[in-house]
Symmetry: C2
Subunit: 165 residues, 2 copies
C-alpha cells in the first residue's frame, strides 16, 4: 500500500484555552482573535464545532510562554461577550501526522486514532487539513504516542529482513 | 506589510455530520473513523474540541454524495456508543485562506473572521493548520464570503494608481 504519511511531529510547548459558551453569532471570532492579534500573540490551532445552539465553544492553542497574556486578553473579551467560562490547560501536548494528499486516503486518520487508542491515550482535540492530522493529548503520554504512531506508519516500510537487526 | 495569504478557496460539495455527546474516552474516534474507512468514505475535515466533561462532540465533513452512506455508518456506531444525537447538514460550504507560514502571523485568521463578520456571515466551524484556515458557513453566503476575503487579502496589493482602472 502507498505510504502517505511522511512524518510524525510533536510539540509540548502548548497551552489550550477554551472560551466556553460564547454567543454563536457573526463577529465573535473576529473580536476574540482580533484582541489576541492586537497583543501580537501568536495563535497556533483554532478549533470550533457547532451544534446549532445559541452558543458554542471556541478553542485555541498558543505557546505556554504566551498563556498569561492570552488569558488576560480573552478573559476580558469573554466577560464582555457574556461567555459562560474560560478554561486553560498547560498539561496538553500536540502530536501530528503529516503527508501530502494524506486525507485523500480513507483510513489514515483512523489509523492514527487507533495507534493512540491501543495505548489507552485519550484524544482531547482533533483538527485536520489535507496534509496534517493534529491531536491534543495529555503531555505525559506524548513520547509513547509518537512512538506508537511512528511504529504504525513509518516502520511498516521495513522489509521483514530488516526487522531482525 | 508582508502578503502571506496566497489564495482563497471554497467548496460547496460539503456535508457536515456531528456526533453529539460521544463518550470522551480512548478508542471512540478510532471506532468512528475506522467504520467510515471500512466503507471507503473519504473524510475531509475532522474537528473536535473538549470541555473536560465525560462526553464531547465529534464533527466531520464529507462530500454530499457520500452523506447517505456516511449517515448509515455513523448512526450505527453512535447508537452502539450511546451517543446523544447525530446531526447532518448539507447547507454548509467551506471557505479557506491558504498561505505558507500564515499562522506565524498574528492577525491573519482574525482578518479572515473580520471579513466574514463585516458581511454578517456566521462562522459555524473553524479548523486551522500552519498553511490553511478553514471555516464552514452557510452555503448561501459563499460567493459573498469569497469576494470579501479576496478583497481583504489579495486586492490590497494593488497600488493606488491601479484602483482607478
Ligand atoms: C463563535 C463564532 O465563530 C461566531 N459564530 C462567529 O461567527 O464569529
Ligand atoms: C472523542 C474521542 O476523540 C475520544 N476522546 C478518543 O480518544 O477517541
Amino acid at each position: 500500500k502507498e505510504v502517505v504519511v511522511t512524518g510524525v511531529t510533536h510539540d509540548t510547548n502548548v497551552a489550550k484555552v477554551v472560551l466556553v459558551g460564547v454567543p454563536d453569532r457573526p463577529g465573535v471570532a473576529a473580536r476574540i482573535f482580533g484582541a489576541l492579534a492586537a497583543e501580537r500573540i501568536n495563535v497556533d490551532m483554532i478549533v470550533q464545532t457547532t451544534k446549532e445552539e445559541k452558543s458554542t465553544d471556541l478553542l485555541f492553542t498558543i505557546s505556554r510562554d504566551d498563556l498569561a497574556r492570552a488569558s488576560q486578553v480573552v478573559r476580558k473579551v469573554a466577560q464582555e461577550l457574556g461567555a459562560k467560562d474560560v478554561l486553560e490547560d498547560q498539561t496538553v501536548a500536540k502530536v501530528s501526522i503529516v503527508g501530502a494528499g494524506m486525507m485523500m486516503n480513507p483510513g489514515v486518520a483512523a489509523a492514527m486514532f487507533e495507534a493512540l487508542a491501543e495505548c489507552g491515550i485519550n484524544i482531547q482535540v482533533i483538527s485536520t487539513s489535507e496534509i496534517k492530522v493534529s491531536c491534543l493529548i495529555d503531555e505525559s503520554r506524548v513520547v509513547e504516542a509518537v512512538r506508537a504512531i511512528h511504529r504504525r506508519f513509518l516502520e511498516d516500510t521495513l522489509s521483514p529482513a530488516d526487522e531482525g537487526q
